[in-house]
Symmetry: C2
Amino acid sequence: MSKRQIYLESLPHDVALERLLTALDQAGWGPQREVVPTDKALGRITAAPVRARISAPHYNASAVDGIAVKASDTFGATETSPLTLTIGEQAHWVDTGDPLPPGCDAVIMVEHVNLLDDGHHSGARCEILAPVAPWQDVRQIGEDVVATEILLPEGHTIRPQDMGALLAAGILEVPVVRKPVVTFIPTGTEIVEPKADPAPGEIIEFNSRVILSMVSEWGGTPVRGPIVRDDYDLIRRTVREAVAGSDIVIVNAGSSAGSEDYTVHVLKELGQVLAHGVAIRPGKPVMLGLIDGKPFVGLPGYPVSTWLTAELFVKPLVYRFLGQQVPRRPTVRASLARRVTSPMGVTEYVRVKLGRVGERLVATPISRGAAVISSLVRADGLLVVPSGLEGIGEGSEVEVELLRPLSEIQETVVAIGSHDTSLDLMGSFLRRKSGFYLSSAHVGSQGGLLALKRGEAHVAGVHLLDEATGDYNTAYVQKYLGRPALLVLLARREQGFIVPRGNPKNITSFRDLARPDVQYVNRQRGAGTRLLLDYHLKQEGISPAEVQGYRWELFTHLNVAAAVKAGDADAGLGIRSAAQAMDLDFVPVAWEEYELCIPAELEEHPGVQAVLTLLRDPEFLGAVESLGGYDCADSGRIRRV
Amino acid sequence: MSKRQIYLESLPHDVALERLLTALDQAGWGPQREVVPTDKALGRITAAPVRARISAPHYNASAVDGIAVKASDTFGATETSPLTLTIGEQAHWVDTGDPLPPGCDAVIMVEHVNLLDDGHHSGARCEILAPVAPWQDVRQIGEDVVATEILLPEGHTIRPQDMGALLAAGILEVPVVRKPVVTFIPTGTEIVEPKADPAPGEIIEFNSRVILSMVSEWGGTPVRGPIVRDDYDLIRRTVREAVAGSDIVIVNAGSSAGSEDYTVHVLKELGQVLAHGVAIRPGKPVMLGLIDGKPFVGLPGYPVSTWLTAELFVKPLVYRFLGQQVPRRPTVRASLARRVTSPMGVTEYVRVKLGRVGERLVATPISRGAAVISSLVRADGLLVVPSGLEGIGEGSEVEVELLRPLSEIQETVVAIGSHDTSLDLMGSFLRRKSGFYLSSAHVGSQGGLLALKRGEAHVAGVHLLDEATGDYNTAYVQKYLGRPALLVLLARREQGFIVPRGNPKNITSFRDLARPDVQYVNRQRGAGTRLLLDYHLKQEGISPAEVQGYRWELFTHLNVAAAVKAGDADAGLGIRSAAQAMDLDFVPVAWEEYELCIPAELEEHPGVQAVLTLLRDPEFLGAVESLGGYDCADSGRIRRV
C-alpha cells in the first residue's frame, strides 16, 4: 500500500493525443498497404486509386433481343418501302448481352422486325420499316467503365456496389490499407475469465470484449492477450511480445492502484512515457507512450473509464493507421433536465438519457459511477462539459453526441418514477407489439411526478399512499404535477417484508423492525415503499431511529432483495416479485395500486397509446401475474384527475 | 426468340411485397431462436429479454484503497479525540475491488488513515479523525446490475457495451434471433466467374457479390450458389436444393428474356408465383413467390435493377426474419438540378449526385442505364418519383435518400465540365492532402459553365477555343456564366488524333478524316474537343457530312480511345494521356489550355482553396505530367474574368 500513484501531469486530452500522434509520425508509424482479393474487400479502404483493367462492357454488346445489322445497310427503309434483310447475310439474331457480329454496328429490336419466313434459320428473310442509326441499341465498349479510368479513389471504403464495379472492370485484387492489429492485455491478479459463479473478490474480465468489439467496428484487427497477474516481469514480457506482433498495444490496468503502477514502470523500461494522467473524467489515469515506434495505451480499469479512454485515444489511433478521419458522431441539441457540475480544468463526459416529450428533446444525466457498465447500456448520448466550465445549468440547451440512433430515441416512451419489475417486461412487450422502445429510470414515485411536471417523461409509475384517506396517488398528482392527468392502473401488487428463506429472525410485523437484532434495509426518500414504511411506523408509534438500517437507502426492490440475499440485511420492505426473483421468503403486508400517471396532454401520443393498449393485453398481463404478487383484474382502468 | 416474356401483372411494389409477407406469415415463416456464446454475440439481436444471472458487483467490494471497518466501530471519532483501530481486529487493509471482510460494512480511504506503527502487518495500529457511515466507499452488491433484472430487452441489437454488461452479469450465452440463410443463384449461359480477360460475349458475374455483401450488412448469412446455365432441369434442381438449406432463395436471371422465362416456370412448378412484374423502374421484371413456405425472389439481371429490387424486396425479408423494422435511410431535402420524367403508374428510382454549393444542396440526376453499375458507385442518393407523377420539374425541392453520409457530401468539391484524366488523379490527391472529396461529372466545357451558372458546381474544367481570337475560355465564361470568375490553369495539354498502333490509315491531318476509308469517332456537342474539330474542319473547308462518324458521339477521351482500341474507329480527336493509357498512337495537333473556372463568390470556399493549393503542389503536378501530354509549368496561374 505504500506506493501511491503519483500522476506525472494532467494534460488536456487533445494535447496528450497530439503528443502521441506527433511522436508516431516521427517514428514513421502509419498506413501500410496490402493486396486482398476483391471478394474479401468489403469494408476495406483503398490504399491507392484503383484503375479499371478492362472496359465494361468489354465488347460491343446488344442491349436488346433483336437483329444485329450494319446501320448503313438499313438506310432508306420506310413504312411504304420496307427493306428486306436475310438472316446470316445482312442480319444476325442476337439476345441481350450478345456481342455484335463482325461488321455490325446496330441492333433492331425484335418488336420492329417482321418475319417473312418461318423460323430464325440462316437464309430466312425479314422486313424492317425504318432505318437505324449507328450504335443504336448497342452497349458500346466502356459504356459503364473504360479500361484505365480511375474507378475508386484512394482512401475509399469499399461498399457492395463498389465490389460489383471492381469485378466488372476485371479487378480481382485490390490494394487496401492493412488493418491495424490491436492487442489488448488485461492485467490484475483479481481478474478472472467470464464465469457464471465467480467467488467473492474475483472480478470478471469483460473490458477486453467491449474494447476489442469497438476495435472491430472501427476497422482494426482485435487480438486478446491472456490475463496477466500483477507481476512486473510477466507484464513486461507480455507487453514486449505484444509490441512485436501488433500495431497498437493496450494494457488495461486492474482497478487497484498497484497494478497501474506496474504498467507505467514497464512502459518506462521498454519505451517512453508521453502522457500519464489527462484532465478528463472519468478516465484520468490514462497512460500514453511509445515502444519500438508503436503506440502503447494504458487504459484505466473501471469499465466506463476504459470505454471512454478507448474512444478518446485508441479510436484516433486506429483511424490514423487506416489513413482516415475519425468519423464524428451525430449530435442533437437537447434541453438539460438537471444541472451537472464538473471541476474547472477537467473535461467531463456525462452519460445522458434522451427523450422527446412534446416538442422538446430532453437530456437527463444518469449515474456517473465509472464502475457502472450498465450506465453505458442505458445511455442514449454523451454530454461533454468543457474544462473551462464548472457545470451546465438546468434547462440549458446542450449538444449531445448520440450513442443510439435518433430515430429510436424519437420512438421511445420515457418512464421515470417508481420501480416495478413489470416495467422491464413492458419494455420487451412494447417493442414487439408496437415497435416503440421503453426507457425507464427509477427515481421513486415523487421523483416521477416531478419529472412529468418538468416535461422529461411521458409516464411515471406511482404508488403513493395518502395517509389521510388511504387512497392512492390522486392527492399526490394534484400536489406535485398540478395539471390534468390520467392515472392508469398497471396492477395491484403485494407489498411485504422480504426476508431470508425460512424467515430466520421471524419478522411478522413492523414492530419487529425495531428489534435490536434486526438489520433493516430501506428505500430512498420519495419512494412509495418508503412512504408505506413511514406510514406504518407512525401508526405503530415507532421512531425511525429505532430501526437499524433506516438510513441505508437502496433504489429498487431488487436491490433490497439482493441485500437480504447477501445476508447484509434481515429484512426490507418490497414487492413479492422481487422476493420471488431472488428465491427469498415474503411476509405480506398490504396490497397497493401501482398506477401509471400520464399528463392529459400526452394522451394522444402514439407511444402512450401503445402503452394503454398493452395494459389491456392478456398476454402481457399474464406475464406480469406470473412474476408473483400481481393482480391484473382491473389493469388498464383509467381515472382522470 | 419466340418466347417473349409476358408479365403476369404490374403491381405496385408495396402491394407485391405485402402479398409475399402475408403468405409468409400464413406459412409460419419468421424469427427463430438460437443460443450463442456472449463472446460471439456482437451485432446479434436478442430473441428474449435477457436477465442478469448474478449481480454486479457480486459481492460487497471496496471502492477505494483503505481500511475496511464496521461503521459503528468508528462512531465518536473526531479531530480532537481520534480513534485508534488495530489492523486485523477492527480494521483490515483492502485494495479497490477487494471484498469486505466479514463483519465490515464500510471503508475508510487510505488518505484519511494515520499510521501509528510502521507497516501494514496484523497488530499495527492506526488512527482515524472522523466516523464513517455504513456502506461508505463500498460498491454494494448489485450497484451496477441486480441478479434477475432484465438487462437487455427482446429485439435489442447487441453492442460492445452490452457485451460487457452481459459478461459482468454472469451471462455466458445469449438467446438471439437466428440469421436468415440467403442463397443467391446466378443463372445464364453467358455468365462467367470474375476474370481479368473475359472473351467477347462472356458476362462477368458480380451481382451475387453485391447482393450478398448487402445481405451480410443487413444481418443475414450469405450463401453463393454456383452459376447455373440456362437449363430448365438444372435450375429446378438447384432451386430445390437451395430451398431445403435456406430461409430465402434468390435467383438472378441472366440479362436475356429467355433465362428469366426458365425461372418463372421453375417457380410455377415448385411453388407458387405471387407477383411477376412490379410497377417500378428499373427492376420491373422482379418475381416473388413461395416454395415450401419460404420466400423465393427472382431478381432481374442488369446490376442496377438487381441492386434496387434487392433493396425493395430482399431487405424487408431479411429484417422480417430478424424481427426488426427495416431501418430508414437518412434523407435530405435538395433542389433538383434537371427535370426528371417518369411514366404514370410507375415508381421511378433516380440516382443522383448531391453537392452543396453555397447554401443550397443540389441533386443532379445521373445516367439511368440499368446496366451501369458505376452509376451506383457515383451516386450520392436516390430520388423516388412516385407512380402518380409524370416527372418532377427542375428547381423543385425534393427529398433524397442518402447513399453516402451527408458529412462526406458536405465536404465534397463538385466539378462539372470537360473531362480530363488528371481530374481523377485530383480526386485522390485532394482526399489525401486536404480531406476533401472530389465529385466530377463529364458534360463538356459548355455544360460545365452552365452548371456553374445554375449553382450546381464549384468548379468547371473548360478548354474552349475562341475561333475569332485564338484565346481560350475568356469569352465563353463571359457568355455562359456571366458573373465574375477565376480561371485557374490546371495544365497545358496536347490534343491530337488517337489512332491504332502504327497509325495504319496514316492519318496526319484533318483532311484525312474526310477520306471514305476512315471511320471517325466524335465527342458530344458542347465538348471543347468537338469545338476544336469544328474549328479545324471550317479552316480546311470540310463539311461535317464528309466525316464518316461525325455524329457518333462519346463523352470522354477514354471512351474515344476505347473505340479506337476496339477497332470500331480509325481515329478520334483527344488528349495524349488517353492514347497513352490505352497504348495507342497519337498524332499531335495542338497544345491547349485546360483551365478550371471558379465563380468568384466561391473563391473562399475551403474545398476550392484546397484545389488551388493542389494546383501548386509539385507532387500532384508531377503525377499529372507523368500521364503524358501535360505541361504543368504554369499550373496554378490565376486569371480573373
